[in-house]
Symmetry: C2
């Protein structure tokens, strides 16, 4: 092979920071430490960083997996002191400062950053983990897309008059965005792909326990989201508590059930189930790790936690929500504090800068809450949402491709990547 | 749902043409019959058409699956008389004019077109079907890419000095293109992604039984391909006959073996193994179905065969090669002949218009043989290859995305979709 190997300076004398997880938080930590006087190993079971806010677009065939994923190696290809390790962390031994990987390897650390994110939480609902489809990882999104498209094909084969119901559990941003995008997918499949389905017999039902959508937003944003979803054909049902899911239906606590072809699970996440084994930490809400103001674990001076994995203090015993901006900001802060500790300085507490929250409901419709309770909605909200997401996507090529895909979709051109690409080769 | 169903005119009185397979040939048949006085059902086990000539780019992480695939429904969304059926054909009953699907459905036909293509042929080499990786379907390409990228990660974990060998079997266009692109992938992974591998210990070996590459091309094209491959670091070995493949090595008939991390199989295809069961047909070379000049099966007046599945007559007992242009031209001719038969006219024989063959060897290097023995090579050949492939890609969006991806690659920008996205969630 005619390749020059990169020159690798001797970094062994530097403190070793091990970051577990290549999501928003872990990447922000490693970026903050790139080309500084530490050496960094970032470990992830996937070789790519996922832009989670757009996974629902992959699940509904609006975007491709490669549009929302970016190789972690490529992000840090320029940084000589950052190394990527592809692998799954099994456990942590804080007494020996060692991380154990599933392949048997051990990695020593001077500082350890827990950026393991969260996984879908099924809250012990019988059948949920088996039959409901979560939407938290890129594999989840691909699987869900294949399933949705296959269901549409199978329904056509059964005959024009076959009823078809999809149920989305959870009225947060993921549930709202997914149900809105799902109705768009079905409309495109019928109008553009000539799928012979009877629109009057297709239902997309969004259920939530709460009495309104998007509970983190002001009431008028919730009302707007509900109106927009309903006008695009989504049925919204409140006060619905799921007690069981089986292959063909979802059951509620009032004895009611809905027969459905698929249940999409957007009801919540658990940080605890994503943590390495044997981590000594104080559990906070949602299984998150309790941390001090500087984001170090309580009672630890070399283990830190950031992003969804951490109960990041907001103020007075209140914690930050599990949002991408919190992950990014806490990651940056953690990197700065590790450098302070390595340089013998004292740490400073994390302060969250709230720039607002936003959710999209479909083409041309989004809601955003800016600081001071300002709510932006409709086309302006959608454009703001689009611009912000493009800005934060890693890699210019990804941004360009997403922009192209969205422009296409916006103008309703009769083309789109509605592909069923599973690892399994055949259908029956 | 607020969707208007497409108006479906009564087509039942028209002759029903069933096309098995949505590759180049099957799509060409259905396109030729779109909006004519027949009704058409095109059946495929995948819901997409695959642009096979670029699969090696997907396998080597240069392109994404969605760049080379296009939903069959979308191709025919405008044609009221063409219907797509997602399913796998099990068998054919010519006495009852019925096609049986794996899901138990039966579909009647007036005319049946066999456009089932071909599958990888392992020629009975022990271990080949289990351990060698073919490159003929989109799933093959995805699987191969995941495997190649995982091998690179695993080799880094084992340590800088670990040797690493890939063997490509077959010196036809697929083998030449794949081995060239594989060396580029490895170079990018080391230079851009900071993968710590020793280039001097990495081998890409291309083996073939024949004494030269690209045997369908003139000798000087073969020589050029060999020189270019070797200058990019591929070892080319001729007169190599594979007798066995196991998990860690490939064995040759002279007792020699090469230890390797992966064997990529580009040694040939079989049409016979892709045919529906119970088809009554005369077998030709490579398991292909013998057809008359009008592309009807010998001794049949309502079953046709096109593309890779058919032994398409060229002249004087010589058959056309299994190439995309033959598939497209034979598909078009078949459609025209079916219309002639339906309209009570007599059929005309197929004539292949040879516009040349081409293969790419890497960035900036390709060979093309034009009619009258004209050979174009180097950068001009590469540009011709690129333009032609862009032209034949289905869908403007696919063309645009492929153009963007290639432009990126050409200028060696440090970005690329080197993602390991398997259905399985974790690595160990």
């Amino acid at each position: 092979m005619v390749v020059s190997p990169r020159s690798v300076p001797d970094l062994r004398s530097l403190a070793h920071v091990v970051v577990i997880g290549g999501g928003f938080a872990g990447v922000a930590v490693a970026k903050g430490l790139a080309d500084r006087n530490v050496r960094v190993t970032i470990i992830d079971q996937h070789n790519f960083h996922t832009f989670q806010p757009l996974l629902y677009q992959v699940a509904t065939a609006g975007l491709e997996p490669a549009d929302v994923a970016f190789p972690i190696r490529t992000i840090f290809g320029h940084a000589k002191n950052v190394r990527f390790r592809h692998g799954r962390v099994r456990s942590v031994d804080q007494s020996r400062n060692v991380v154990m990987l599933a392949d048997g390897s051990q990695i020593d650390y001077d500082h350890l950053v827990i950026a393991t994110g969260a996984v879908a939480a099924f809250f012990g609902v019988p059948g949920a983990s088996q039959f409901a489809m979560p939407l938290y990882t890129l594999s989840d999104a691909r699987r869900l897309r294949n399933r949705l498209l296959l269901i549409l094909e199978e329904t056509e084969v059964r005959g024009d008059a076959s009823p078809l119901t999809f149920v989305v559990v959870g009225g947060g941003p993921t549930g709202v965005e997914t149900s809105g995008a799902l109705t768009e997918l079905i409309q495109i499949a019928i109008k553009r792909d000539g799928l012979r389905l009877d629109p009057a017999r297709i239902r997309v039902v969004l259920v939530d326990m709460a009495p309104r959508l998007l509970t983190a937003f002001p009431l008028r944003a919730s009302d707007y989201a509900k109106r927009r979803l309903e006008s695009s054909g989504v049925e919204v049902q409140f006060g619905r508590s799921v007690v069981e899911i089986d292959r063909h239906s979802i059951h509620f606590d009032d004895g009611d059930r809905i027969e459905c072809a698929a249940v999409i699970w957007a009801a919540g996440v658990s940080a605890g189930d994503a943590l390495p084994q044997d981590l000594t930490a104080t559990a906070g809400p949602g299984g998150r790790v309790r941390v001090g103001g500087d984001l170090r674990l309580l009672d630890s001076d070399d283990v830190w936690a950031v992003g969804d994995a951490a109960a990041v203090p907001l103020k007075d015993g209140v914690f930050c929500a599990q949002l991408a901006p919190v992950a990014i900001q806490s990651g940056r802060h953690c990197a700065a504090q590790i450098l302070r500790v390595v340089n013998g300085e004292s740490t400073t507490p994390f302060r969250y800068h709230d720039k607002g929250i936003m959710a999209t409901i479909g083409r041309n419709a989004a809601v955003a809450e800016l600081p001071h309770g300002v709510v932006v909605k409709g086309r302006l909200g959608w454009l703001a949402w689009l611009g912000l997401h493009l800005w934060y996507l890693v890699g210019f090529r990804n941004r360009l491709r997403v922009l192209i895909n969205w422009t296409w979709r916006y103008f309703d051109w009769p083309s789109g990547p509605r592909l069923i690409v599973a690892d399994a080769e055949t259908v029956d």
